[in-house]
Amino acid sequence: MRVNFGGRDFRKFAGSAAWVACAAMLLGASYMAVAQDFADGGAFPSTYRPLPQAPLAIVGASILTGTGEEIASGTVLVRDGKIEAVGAALTVPDGYQRIDGHGKWVTPGIIDAHSHLGVYPSPSVPSHEDGNEASAPNTAEVWAEHSVWPQDPKFRLARGGGVTSLLILPGSANLFGGRSVTLKNVPAVTTQAMKFPGAPYGLKIACGENPKRVYGGKGRAPMTRMGNVAGYRKAWIDAADYMRRWEKWEKGGKAGEPPKRDLQLETLAGVLKGEILVQNHCYRADEMAVMIDIAREFGFRITAFHHANEAYKIAPLLAKEGICVATWANSWGAKMESLDGIEENAPMIDAAGGCAIIHSDDGLLIQRLNQEAAIAMTAANHAGMSITRGQAIKWVTANPARAMGIADRTGSLEPGKMADIVLWSADPFSVYAVAEKTWIDGALAWDRADPRYQGPSDFLLGQPGQEFAR
């Protein structure tokens, strides 16, 4: 999979030798040969800049690295916003701010692979309902980032739960709901200032009951699952045709007028070219298998199935296909397609060698993804599986990073990665653990003991009831 670097984002990393090498590799021949950038065309570039930071050492904590490893008592060194070193016996160099982690735990920043913060913000009033462009079954042309309200108070609440990055998706009313946006969970006035530099775009696809209910209820297609599939296939045929027209123009030495840009087909063509990742809302095992067949028919890859209550029934298939599963432990049963949800879904994907993710899809659950992972881990071990904390933490750190195409930069505590880190008051799998401090790119973004980090968003400023932390 290729990661797409917008020009400005690329410059942001230009100071780091590792990043130059990495970007040069990523900006390989095939990328340069295609003038048409189906992924983003450089529009709406990230203006994110890390907050001020100093070299940092977290000493003496139990560390879950996000690579599967657990260090009983270790040190994390952070410099220039990056993880410098992680280990059991590290010397803290002079000039580093020292954080005492004894009796506490450290994990990578929590990453939510499925959020609607900003697009369904609080307060939930019609003026804010910006997550579903439910006006046509295919709205691949819309971008979630154009709906995100950075003042959604839930971003701050998520920081209190250790969330450092999130994938904001448009809703599931449509077969093609539009583009996702990946954000770093920093306070900001503009969405561009939260955009994760260089993160690839995603395309939200929805299976099953939602599209057929939304449109079938209006007496139009799709009103059945077969109608859903016909809608997907028609769109991919159009996208393949669009891509061919561009390629023909480019191979012809760009002679004559270029084809007219079509925002809807541009997004779909971005998927066909492997630049945009498919984030597929899909509950039932049989439907997931159909979606895999559609991907084969048109030559693209599905990056993750979301919700996926029945993923455990086809765990080996999903592992073989390299498709991540983003799901819950507790949520099931509201719809027929979610009736077979079980607590052990994510661990069973893990056991099959697949990529398991615990996601929230919810403004309250996003604050305690660690607990949701704990519930799945506990259920799995009760059922005779053997899941360690080191493994389970990946469900809310490294694996969502992988599904979002940012695993080379965040999701685990490894040298060179972004210093996105949480210091927990206790074992993060305990219901009593709270995120004491959260760093994003090495800068403190949340401190439970410091009211300066708990201030209300602009919307809540001056509203009643803000005199205590939330």
Binding site: S122, I342, Q367, Q371
Partner: protein, 420 residues
């Protein structure tokens, strides 16, 4: 003859469990009653009822012994934010009996009827340690929102048929944003409507004979609804008032005072801001302590500190789960309240004895005390923890299956994975 034999067989199956004596020995017993906590205690259940709880309680001869050494023993949890027994799948209307849009049956809607003890939601909740629930009606009149009351809640057992423990434990009323919509779009309208309705009920009570002869003024409520509200105006049935905004809570307290009705608050997202007033009115509160987002204009002050602040002010709180399919999350919600300052004992009380007291069930459930029902859960760790699970659940002294449709699905698919 066949029918008689079947009846005997059915009795025969039920009899041993009911007549059985069970001794749960050696566990850390958190009674939630006057005995407090026993580091190593024994609970004796005979004929479905608890007969003794103590550190040195002798085990009766012939008792079935459940060794709970190293375990934690608590009363069964009581869910108060749920419609267990009334719903299977939200998007399958025929399987959702939580409410009706029949305007003749608003207050009269009775969740004690139509209960389904075979619901697949029940074993899932039970595996979360829940043994009793308040099956609560939900308004089914969106988008027009015409009904003033959703109906009457019923206390139910999760131990199979018959489910019903007690009918009419509360009358469901929505105030705040939703109540305003019901009354035509503004809060003041609902308060006027409520006073008018209680006036009608009192008038009806005073003129029953004339009503039967058709000689009273015309009432806005149906006969069934008038009858249903009699226990409310007599103070025998509490109104369960869902409300969040601090000012709405004050309005609810004032309405209850003026009408001399008993109320329970539900939701109370901004309850902490008026905690002393709630405590002074001796009004209990059902809360979801994880609700800290300003999801609406009536929840601008929502905070994770709500449970602690209400409890510190002396309010009796019960902690709710996350509804029906997710009722099992109730104990984690209590754990989160503890993580945010509520004492652990108060957290456990909020899912056991407090809801039992609030709904008038404390003579039967909510604590481990002689005379109460044998609803007991044995845990492999702290019952409020994400990393703990029940190892045994007894309802009326009867062992409940530690399986659900979900665990059966797991057991169908897991072996193939383990062989890989």
């Amino acid at each position: 003859m066949i029918r008689i034999l079947t009846a005997i067989a059915a009795l025969g199956m039920a009899a041993p469990a009911a007549a059985e004596t069970v001794a749960i020995t050696g566990g850390r017993v958190v009674t939630m009653g006057p005995q407090g906590e026993l580091a190593r205690g024994t609970v004796i259940v005979r004929d479905g009822r608890i007969v003794s709880v103590g550190a040195d309680t002798p085990v009766p001869a012939g008792a079935r012994i459940i060794d709970a050494a190293g375990r934690i023993v608590t009363p069964g949890l009581v869910a108060s934010g749920t419609a267990l027994g009334l719903i299977e799948v939200r998007f399958v209307a025929a399987s959702d009996d939580r409410g009706s849009h029949n305007s003749e049956i608003s207050a009269a809607f009775d969740a004690g009827y139509g209960l389904n003890p075979d619901s697949i939601l029940i074993p899932v909740a039970r595996l979360g340690g829940i043994t009793s629930a308040i099956a609560t009606p939900v308004y089914d009149d969106a988008p027009n929102r015409e009904l003033l009351f959703a109906g009457q809640a019923a206390a139910v057992s999760l131990g199979g048929a018959p489910m019903l423990r007690k009918r009419g434990v509360a009358m469901i009323l929505e105030m705040g944003d939703g109540g305003a919509e019901r009354a035509g779009g503004a809060r003041a309208g609902e308060l006027v409507a409520l006073h008018a309705v209680f006036g009608e009920v009192r008038d009806f009570m005073a003129r029953r004979a004339a009503y039967d002869r058709g000689e009273t003024r015309t009432y806005s409520l149906s006969h069934a609804d008038l009858e249903a509200l009699v226990p409310v105006v007599e103070g025998r049935m509490p109104l369960l008032v869902s409300v969040n905004r601090a000012s709405d809570i004050r309005d609810a307290l004032a309405m209850a005072h003026e009408e001399r009705v008993k109320i329970i608050l539900a939701g109370a997202g901004e309850g902490w801001r008026v905690a002393r007033e709630i405590a002074a009115a001796r009004v209990p509160v059902l809360i979801t302590p994880i609700e800290n987002s300003p999801a609406s204009f009536e929840l601008l002050g929502a905070t994770l500190g709500n449970a602690r602040r209400l409890a510190e002010a002396g309010v009796t709180i019960a902690i709710q789960g996350n509804g029906n399919h997710r009722e099992r999350e109730m104990r984690y919600n209590a754990g989160n309240a503890v993580a945010n300052g509520l004492p652990w004992q108060a957290g456990l009380a909020a899912v056991t004895i407090n809801p039992a007291r609030i709904f008038g069930l404390a003579d039967r459930i909510g604590s481990l005390e002689p005379g109460k029902d044998g609803d007991v859960v044995i845990w492999d760790g702290d019952p409020l923890e994400t990393t703990a699970r029940p190892v045994a659940v007894l309802i009326g002294g009867v062992d409940q299956p530690m399986t659900s449709r979900a665990t059966q699905l797991r057991d169908r698919y897991l072996p193939a994975l383990k062989q890989r």
